[in-house]
Amino acid sequence: MSQAISGEERYKSGVIPYKKMGYWEPDYQVKDTDIIALFRITPQEGVDPEEAAAAVAGESSTATWTVVWTDRLTACELYRAKAYRVDPVPNTGPGTKVDQQYFAYIAYDLDLFEPGSIANLTASIIGNVFGFKAVKGLRLEDMRIPVAYLKTFQGPATGVVVERERLDKFGRPLLGATTKPKLGLSGRNYGRVVYEALKGGLDFVKDDENINSQPFMHWRDRYLYCMEAVNRASAATGEVKGHYLNVTAGTMEEMYERAEFAKSLGSVIIMIDLVIGYTAIQSMAKWARKNDMILHLHRAGNSTYSRQKNHGMNFRVICKWMRMAGVDHIHAGTVVGKLEGDPLMIKGFYDTLRETRTEQSLEHGLFFDQDWASLNKVMPVASGGIHAGQMHQLLTYLGEDVVLQFGGGTIGHPMGIQAGATANRVALEAMVQARNEGVDIWNEGPKVLDKAAKWCQPLQMALETWKDITFNYASTDTPDFVPTPETTV
């Protein structure tokens, strides 16, 4: 029950618990236009969960630590965020190795936020509260973004559908690779890697997140050599090809300058890093829409706050914000590769990026129904420690609308980069063909690959080289709920 006090009593100078200030409203009826945030809260000793939730609601909306009379000049009941539900997190607390945690549901009125601004949204939701003393740990797990708010965002500049139409590539995942070594190559040598990989069969090659403009290779040089490589490969194969030219730089002015140069050279795609910040990302997304450019986002930096379960934010929230902000590609995990990724969690990320609507699915970490209001679909990118021998697993886990990026798995091929690229493309096409023919690729996948390797020597070499490479470490970001016939949460 609400413990809010009202009238004169409520506004006496001094300090009263957040619960009593109106930030805990268990009877609150959530409106369709409300933004909902779900936090995982670890309260300090002696702080009850409702008070902790109310404190988070307060500090992420209108409250300060003490009562202020100026609240009474406003429609403050509307502007207060309302914690309306607190559930204990399964498998936490007494008898387990972790402190008791709670899922707190907090509703925010639409008018708390500026239209079309991720910066404004996040300044409230993750602005101050994460350093708040009343909680030991706080993690933003999920958000429900109402259609009314989504409609104020551009969304992906290009989207999966138009990207495929522009590239004339349908019916299979796209293939990419990141140029390696990531640092130290001159522009001329760098372009060689790009040309070999594209001619061998990849659709895209990519700059790495930290390739910008360093003493060993300045950006203009890289762009010029990469575009020579792209066009040569395109003429050699008759396919549209691309290289993600990273335009990340120290200022917006420099990023625009690089993006304009990429456009003038005829590149179909540019890239940015998550570390440039939400506003810069939105600006580049607007630029990309205006200039017919596909916009690739590398999630550089996200693991600093997304990996630990007790504090920070879940990557699925980044996926939502980035779909709103307007990127076309985002790295979202591989399941089988070298980077963090539980299969169920990654399905939740991929669905968030690609579906027109997602239903609540606790086992995938999706706490709310989410209608994407016709915002374009984002193409997830699977990158990091994957190789041709895993093709059946990749296709099963990640589906068709994904860029599979084999960096080492292309460039490290014993017969050279072109052979590495060909191995990946043959493995991919053979697997898609088999799946479409009704083959159970999860179980028969290795046979499909072996069969193709009989006539494709590069594939045979790839399978031999990497046959035993797996990354079997336990994930840190795992589901809290196991599937049951009936959910009680």
Partner: protein, 139 residues
């Protein structure tokens, strides 16, 4: 050269049975299959000629294969592709596209470079086949 547009160009040319199996996959998904042909395989040549309208009401993949083969008879030395269109909301675009016929000789493309200001180059991809007028290519 071998043109590698389409989703299966790195595999050996598909047999009739393999083509039928892919058409069946499209039909099962509710996608409309279309046969298209061209003598200009430039990567930006989006609109290949339609053999006929997309087969919206087709249930039997053998019927589509028949159209593939009719098109092959009429244009044995052209590029022919099968495209599957999905009309569901959120897609409304091709979901499959694969080549089912190629000319005996594939001359490929020339890359033309126009050196412009600074070190920048404007690139143009030129399809050798289009040196001859339509109808006279790939004889």
């Amino acid at each position: 050269m071998r043109l590698t547009q389409g989703q299966f160009s790195f595999l050996p040319d598909l047999s009739d049975d393999q083509i039928k199996a892919q058409i069946e996959y499209a039909v099962q998904n509710g996608w409309a299959v279309n046969v298209e042909f061209t003598d200009d395989p430039h990567p930006r040549n989006t609109y290949w000629e339609m053999w006929d309208l997309p087969m919206f009401d087709l249930r039997d993949p053998a019927g589509a294969l028949l159209e593939v083969n009719n098109c092959r008879k009429a244009y044995p030395n052209h590029y022919i592709r099968v495209t599957a269109f999905d009309n569901s909301r959120g897609w409304e675009t091709p979901r499959m596209s694969f080549i089912v016929n190629r000319p005996k000789e594939e001359p490929g493309f020339r890359l033309d470079r126009q050196e412009v200001d600074s070190r920048a180059i404007r690139y143009t991809i030129h399809s050798y086949a289009t040196d001859k007028p339509a109808g006279d290519r790939y004889q």
